[in-house]
């Protein structure tokens, strides 16, 4: 026991009549990197905010780093690094001033020294006096990550940290996450990028406030029971329109130029595709569904359940 950095059950949050998070159970073992997936407005940010004491949970129990998340938010805040979705450092302070402020709020014994070391590690020594507001998106993100790492937290809660960041910066960011994880830090990171999700030890998929899938990427794909056919060729665009709404086709979506037609009933899916097989310029082949296929299917399924 004690091996879980996050261990909460029945986490629930209402905003008025809307159920933002509905009885979510999350147990993240120490040292793992978990991806938190779900469409916009599905409850990812709300869940993360409840975990670090920024929102009151309407129901639920459990611990975060061994502290009761409902009654000990102050202790949790000391040991958690939380990176907000929107850049939330002071744009009218310089990089160094921002970091020094954070270091002093956490009462680090040698705030200046810790900040100097962090700035050197980031390679920001020459730009340390630049105002945070003047930084590009990628640098803002690096500043935010290093600021929430300053107090050596045991758990990182990262809310869409790579939104709006270029591919190179995203890769660097994830290399850093894995390095931190290697040091024993637990990470819960929400994202919309499937390639990022695939770099996580486990993913949790939340839709409309409910956790609808969890496990390793392989497990989530396998459990989805989804079959996918890939259609390529010049007529694929026109075909997508025709296939949508056909029995057996749960969704038809483009990945690049290729059309993915997916459904859980393999026979029905084949029946729907049959009339188009052999059409000139179209090639059909079956493939393992990708995580994104599963993502879309889970989302569509959830929306279908809605009254």
């Amino acid at each position: 026991m004690g091996a879980f950095a996050i261990d909460v059950r029945g986490l629930t949050k209402r905003f008025g009549h809307k159920l933002a998070v509905n009885a979510a159970d999350i147990a993240v073992p120490e040292g793992e990197v978990w991806g938190f997936l779900g469409p916009n407005g599905s409850g990812k940010t709300t869940t993360i905010r409840m975990l670090c004491g920024l929102l009151h949970a309407d129901a639920g129990e459990g611990t975060c780093l061994g502290y009761d998340f409902r009654t000990q938010p102050e202790q949790i805040k000391r040991e958690v690094g939380y990176m907000t979705q929107r850049f939330s450092f002071w744009e009218d302070l310089s990089i160094r001033e921002n970091l020094e402020f954070v270091a002093r709020v956490y009462e680090l014994p040698d705030a200046r020294g810790a900040v100097t070391a962090m700035i050197e590690r980031l390679g920001l020594t020459t730009r340390q006096h630049q105002l945070a507001g003047d930084l590009s998106g990628g640098w803002k993100q690096r500043l935010a990550l290093s600021a929430c790492m300053l107090h050596s937290p045991k758990l990182l809660l990262l809310d869409e940290p790579t939104a709006g960041v270029d591919p190179k910066a995203r890769r660097d960011f994830w290399d850093e996450i894995h390095r931190l994880s290697g040091d024993g830090i637990t990470v819960l990171v929400s994202t919309h990028y499937m390639d990022e999700a695939e770099r996580c030890d486990r993913v949790v998929f939340i839709n409309l406030g409910k956790i609808v899938a969890r496990g390793t990427v392989g497990e989530v794909i396998a459990r989805s029971g989804l079959f996918t056919f890939i259609v390529e060729g010049d007529g694929a665009r026109a075909l997508a329109v025709k296939l949508r709404g056909e029995p057996g086709v749960e969704f038809a979506a483009f990945f690049g130029a290729a059309l993915h037609a997916s459904g859980r009933d393999r026979a029905a899916l084949e029946r729907a595709l049959a009339p188009f097989r052999g059409a000139p310029g179209l090639t059909f082949h079956e493939a393992a569904p990708s995580l994104e296929d599963v993502f879309i299917q889970l989302q569509e399924q959830g929306n279908g359940d809605q009254p």
Partner: protein
């Protein structure tokens, strides 16, 4: 179709603005509600011809004449006799503390001198720190007192009225003998300027963090609400003290305002007063959703601070309910303190009745701010 100036586009922008205005309910309520509220409030409260001014009568010659004069002053409506005493010192202390605006001194042998036709003097000491408010009442006093004696001076004494006034009225405008309005207004301005700038400074304190998105970060860190409040209020105390020094220098060098009392005592009260206003502004920022709303609250607080505090209009001219509102504003008490120290030379004992309300106000505002402070984003 692609005209450079299009009525349809103006209509589109206009419609968008109207919708946005309607969505911001609190702002809309303030735009509609505040003018009506303030019109009623100030319309009824402000009166340039104050009546029922508190006065003390020091009677060194008790008798029929004194009784008649005291009764007539009370009946005139201009005066409310708070104290009728045989001790001139007690009456003068009330004047220094600001509990009364006038002391009417009926000298020893007043009755005997009237009967003898020796024209004794009725001495009126007026608190001239606010020259405008006292002038009507002072003007009326000689006539009121003379009329009062008409009934008493009968038979052989009737002569005393017919030939010449039975006594002389001597008015001593204390604390501001020349009745210079600046001596009243300039120290008052110190209070009003500080109220305006200090409340403005902190009313943005949290709304700015909220609008820029940094509030979430501040809350995610292990910060206590009291730490945030004290950290945000304290630096502005220095700003307020700097402003005070500038205003007081100008008061002395440009307007020649006398500074009789202790400046370090005034400095101590200034710290409390500045902190109280900063706490009010900070409380606003815990309530307002945006910087605009905080600004509106600031204006809502500022107007009564100018109009009901005794700065712009005589405090004692206002109806009692308006005086109660005035008593609830820190600037009202500060005006009495600053005028008392600078013009009257008041010490700690005389100003204390107006200092404790400031301290109470400071702690009340901070308590409300801490209660209102949301530790979560709910």
């Amino acid at each position: 179709m692609n005209r450079r100036f299009s009525a349809a586009r103006i209509a589109a922008i206009l419609a968008k603005e109207l919708v946005q205005m309607r969505r911001d309910r609190l702002t809309f309520a303030m735009i509609v509600g505040i003018p009506i509220l303030q019109l009623l409030l100030f319309g009824f409260a402000i009166n340039n011809d104050p009546k029922h001014l508190p006065a003390a009568v020091a009677i060194s010659d008790p008798g029929v004449f004194s009784d008649s004069i005291v009764a007539a002053l009370a009946n005139s409506g201009y005066y409310e006799i708070k104290l009728a005493t045989n001790s001139p010192a007690a009456a003068r202390r009330m004047l220094a503390e600001g509990q009364v605006s006038f002391v009417i001194d009926i000298p020893a042998n007043f009755s005997r001198d009237i009967v003898r036709g020796a024209q004794p003097s009725l001495l009126i000491e007026a608190d001239a720190t606010d020259p405008a408010s006292a002038s009507n009442a002072v003007g009326a006093i000689g006539r009121i007192a003379a009329d009062a004696l008409r009934d008493d001076l009968k038979g052989p004494l009737a002569r005393r009225i017919q030939t010449a006034p039975p006594f002389l009225t001597i008015v001593h405008p204390l604390y501001n003998p020349e009745g210079l309005t600046q001596f009243n207004i300039v120290p008052g301005l110190l209070g009003v300027i500080l109220t305006m700038t200090m409340v403005l400074m902190t009313s943005m304190a949290l709304t700015r963090e909220r609008e820029r998105g940094t509030y979430e970060n501040l809350l995610a860190m292990p910060t206590h609400p009291a730490e945030i409040m004290i950290g945000k209020i304290s630096p502005n105390i220095l700003v307020g003290m700097l402003q005070s020094v500038l205003v007081l220098l100008a008061a002395r060098l440009i307007f020649g305002v006398p500074m009789i009392g202790s400046l370090s005592l005034l400095g101590g009260v200034l710290v409390v007063f500045i902190a109280a206003n900063l706490a009010v502004g900070y409380t606003f920022s815990t309530i307002a959703q945006s910087q605009l709303q905080a600004m509106q609250m600031m204006v809502f607080f500022l107007l009564p601070s100018i109009l009901l505090s005794g700065f712009a209009f005589p405090f004692r001219g206002m109806p009692v309910w308006a005086q109660w509102i005035g008593e609830a504003l820190p600037v009202t008490h500060f005006l009495r303190v600053v005028r008392g120290i600078l013009l009257k030379g008041n010490g700690p004992a005389e100003i204390w009745p107006d200092v404790w309300p400031l301290i109470l106000f400071l702690f009340a505002a901070m308590a409300i701010a801490l209660l209102r402070f949301r530790r979560t984003l709910d």
